[in-house]
């Protein structure tokens, strides 16, 4: 059953997301693109672009969007696509919900626990690695079709790293450049 698969996939993604939305990207990529092949890498890149331009957490945005597209690609009507969105979004939030409520009740115990602190300080660099891997895995011939793509990548990197330009403006600029160049 596709809805059960959507639910269990996004539940796992939610459960293993440490360090917020960007870290979630590499999990989504692994589960949704590599394992289930519900969308291709190009489609996944587009979803990230849409998620970055719209308000709200990137993880919720991508769960909602992927839930919709997966069902749509199977040829179902809009109502069933909506149910797909709902399933994926609910599933991605549920593990946080259970775990945060549990931690809330036991926070005083965790607060000064040495094992807990070691665990967090070891997971932090792993999360940096996860995000780095998400970026590297998106460098594919489909996303980088010619030298113009690399030029756009370089410019976007420079303006957002050192210019601190708003990501939405960077994406808009990429879109306009794409319209003019291709």
């Amino acid at each position: 059953m596709i809805y059960w698969e959507l639910f269990s996939t996004f539940f796992i993604i939610g459960m293993f997301t440490i360090g917020g939305g960007y870290a979630m990207l590499s999990l989504i990529q692994n589960q949704v693109v590599t394992n289930h092949q519900w969308i291709d890498l190009q489609g996944f890149t587009d979803i990230i672009a849409v998620s970055q331009m719209t308000p709200g957490p990137i993880g919720i945005n991508s769960a909602t969007y992927i839930g919709y597209t997966v069902i749509k690609n199977l040829g179902y009507s809009n109502f069933w696509c909506f149910m797909g969105s709902l399933t994926a979004t609910f599933a991605v939030v549920l593990p946080s919900f259970l775990i945060v409520l549990w931690i809330c009740k036991l926070y005083s115990k965790f607060k000064n626990n040495y094992t807990f602190h070691t665990l967090l300080s070891a997971l932090k660099p792993a999360v940096v690695g996860l995000i780095g891997a998400a970026a590297i895995l998106l460098i594919t011939p489909e996303n980088f079709i010619d030298w113009k793509s690399w030029l756009l990548f370089g410019l976007a990197f420079i303006v957002s790293m050192w210019g601190k330009v708003n990501p939405i403006l960077v994406i808009l600029f990429g879109g306009i450049a794409g319209y003019l160049l291709y």
């Binding site: 692994n30 970055q52 946080s96 775990i99 945060v100 094992t115 665990l119 895995l137 996303n143 319209y179």
Partner: protein, 183 residues
């Protein structure tokens, strides 16, 4: 005003007006819940932040779960979570409906050809900033590097990478603790 409605709208407002998610949201949440509503004081907010960053899931959602719980129990946490999720859910749904009908349009395709490489840069930048902010040393830098290699070149699932790191960290902590006790 009914406290549940207040909770819902506070978090809906935060969800609807923050773009970029995660860390961009934190100052806004602080302004709303600490300065405007007075649900928490500064210290309590730091605790909430620490938990939300260390618990699995999205940071802003975790904050809403926690604050909702502190304010009005489990029911409050459900309402606050709904508030923070619903605006993006509705907006993305509309975009998805629109976008799936325009997928094969030539102009839309050209625009996305320009956007795709830009998106990769926009993921690389927060990763580098995160690496700088977390002050990686030889050991932690090694963990980051190994994670990148395992996931992107050896195609290991990020889930296994996180599990291996977590298990090693717990064993290391237990070993250190035992050593301290023996001393």
């Amino acid at each position: 005003m009914n406290p549940y409605i207040e909770l819902f709208f506070s978090f809906a407002k935060i969800g609807a007006f923050t773009i970029g998610g995660g860390y961009a949201i934190i100052p806004l949440i602080k302004k709303e819940v600490v300065e405007k509503k007075g649900w928490l004081n500064e210290d309590e907010f730091l605790d909430v932040l620490a938990i939300s960053q260390s618990a699995p899931g999205l940071i802003s959602v975790n904050i809403s779960i926690f604050i909702g719980y502190r304010f009005k129990g489990t029911k409050g946490s459900i309402i606050a979570t709904l508030g923070s999720v619903l605006p993006s859910f509705i907006m993305i749904l509309l975009i998805a409906i629109f976008f799936t009908n325009f997928k094969d349009n030539h102009t839309v395709n050209a625009i996305f050809k320009g956007i795709r490489p830009v998106v990769v840069a926009l993921i690389a930048v927060p990763m580098i900033n995160m690496a700088i902010n977390s002050k990686l040393n030889i050991y932690t830098g090694f963990i980051a590097l190994i994670s990148i290699i395992l996931i992107s070149f050896l195609k290991v699932s990020p889930i296994y990478v996180l599990l291996i790191v977590a298990v090693c960290a717990v064993f290391y902590a237990k070993y250190k603790e035992n050593k301290e006790i023996k001393k």
